[in-house]
């Protein structure tokens, strides 16, 4: 039986990818942030999953405005790296997990989550920056990936309830897969940030920390937080945090907090990071 062994939450700031790609991680500006991921890289070396389901959003990199799927799933053998306007990031191609992905997509659709099925997908910093943070700069990624893009760019985004629920459905579907696989679910994006308008640069670290506490301890309450509150309190782009609820839903009722890290700023963003594991028998 496949099983979900851990959940990872992390911001996916594009400038973090650029700092890695340009070898600037030791600079005064960046070092404190990257130091915060040293524990995680070590932990990940000891807990490398067979497959990571990475919940992220595309930033007008692969999806234009022709099609805007609310929830989508990449079921291909591999995923190329997008050119986001500066040329593609120099990172390895992302290998897919088509057997589990087709099972998952079908299970979710039958459970009334109307997934958009992606047989072709190029992935952007939303997916590759978390991989760089957790795995460093290997020649080949050590895990297979199922990309799960969510629309968090255009209102209405899916509700928090819907995000927590799809996470729960992912857990059920993984446990019903015939195959001995260690699977992690990653929720990416956030934390507080706003990159547009006169209010740009907004950071709300106390709110971010409370969100982490609630995600761990009170997800059943947190799911009802309206989009408006995310946008007012965490900035217009802070609404990305609904994606963390998908990860949380996949971990079951109770979790153990393995690691937590906060850092301000990375570019325009409050960086937040969690490693959670499901509590036994929860």
């Amino acid at each position: 039986m496949a099983r979900i062994s851990a959940g990872i939450a992390t911001s996916h700031v594009p400038a973090v990818g650029a700092a890695i790609d340009m070898g600037r991680t030791d600079e005064d500006y960046w070092k404190p942030m990257f130091d915060g991921y040293e524990f995680s890289k070590q932990w990940m070396r000891e807990n490398t999953p067979d497959v990571a389901i990475i919940v992220y959003n595309d930033h007008a990199s692969y999806f234009g405005m022709e099609i805007m799927p609310t929830f989508a799933m990449g079921i291909a053998d591999s995923f190329a790296i997008c050119d986001e306007g500066y040329g593609p990031r120099p990172v390895p191609v992302v290998e897919g997990a088509p057997e589990l992905a087709t099972h998952l997509a079908a299970s979710l659709i039958l459970d009334d989550f109307d997934m958009t099925v992606l047989n072709v997908l190029e992935v952007d910093h939303g997916l590759t920056v978390p991989m760089s943070l957790m795995f460093g700069t290997p020649d080949k990624w050590p895990t297979k990936v199922i990309p799960l893009p969510v629309n968090v760019v255009m209102y209405p985004q899916p509700s928090g309830e819907r995000c927590l629920s799809i996470g729960k459905a992912i857990r059920r579907a993984v446990e019903q897969f015939d195959g001995d696989l260690d699977v992690q679910v990653w929720g990416t994006g956030g934390m507080s940030h706003q990159i547009q308008g006169a209010r740009a640069g907004l950071i709300n670290l106390p709110w971010d920390k409370q969100f982490m506490d609630d995600l761990i301890n009170e997800p059943e309450v947190l799911q009802y937080k309206p989009h408006l509150e995310y946008m007012v309190e965490a900035g217009s782009e802070g609404v990305e945090l609904i994606m963390w609820l998908i990860m949380r839903g996949a971990l079951g009722e109770h979790v153990d907090e393995v690691y937590r890290f906060n850092h301000v700023p990375a570019s325009n963003t409050s960086v937040g990071h969690l490693i959670l594991t499901p509590k036994e028998h929860s």
Partner: protein, 132 residues
């Protein structure tokens, strides 16, 4: 559920990219998407007006692009992730481009971020700020 697009109107200095805005900004955002290819970036930068005229954008949107008036682009349906392709084509970072939408210079904006970012106090509501 009936959508409430006006619930965001009271947030100061913020343009929420709704499905309605996306409709108005469709061609502007699609023009931005075209800049994902190096060849198109070169062509755009070489002759912006000619390149823009290939798109069904309003004159206001085209002028906003030429002026690099990102706030105007947001107002006319642009989304910042799409608009980022314009400043990326010139090698500018998010911080450099985003700061132009505030009342700060890029240096002042960066200093604010290093000091912990913009404090939310006073930035929750237009009504509270006397802007509504």
């Amino acid at each position: 559920m009936k959508p409430d697009f006006h619930q965001f109107d009271d947030i100061p200095g913020t343009t929420i990219f709704t499905i309605e805005k996306a409709r108005a900004g469709f061609h502007l955002n699609q023009f931005c998407m075209s800049l994902r290819s190096a060849e198109n970036r070169e062509r755009f930068l070489a002759d912006q007006r000619t390149y823009l005229d290939e798109w069904e954008m309003t004159e206001e949107q085209k002028q906003a692009v030429i002026d690099r008036d990102f706030q105007k682009m947001l107002d006319t349906g642009g989304n910042v992730y799409f608009l980022s392709k314009i400043f990326a084509s010139e090698g500018l970072s998010y911080v450099q481009a985003v700061s132009t939408m505030t009342d700060m210079t890029t240096e002042q904006y960066q200093a604010m971020m290093l000091a912990g970012g913009r404090n939310l106090e006073g930035w929750r509501s237009k009504k509270e700020r006397g802007e509504a």
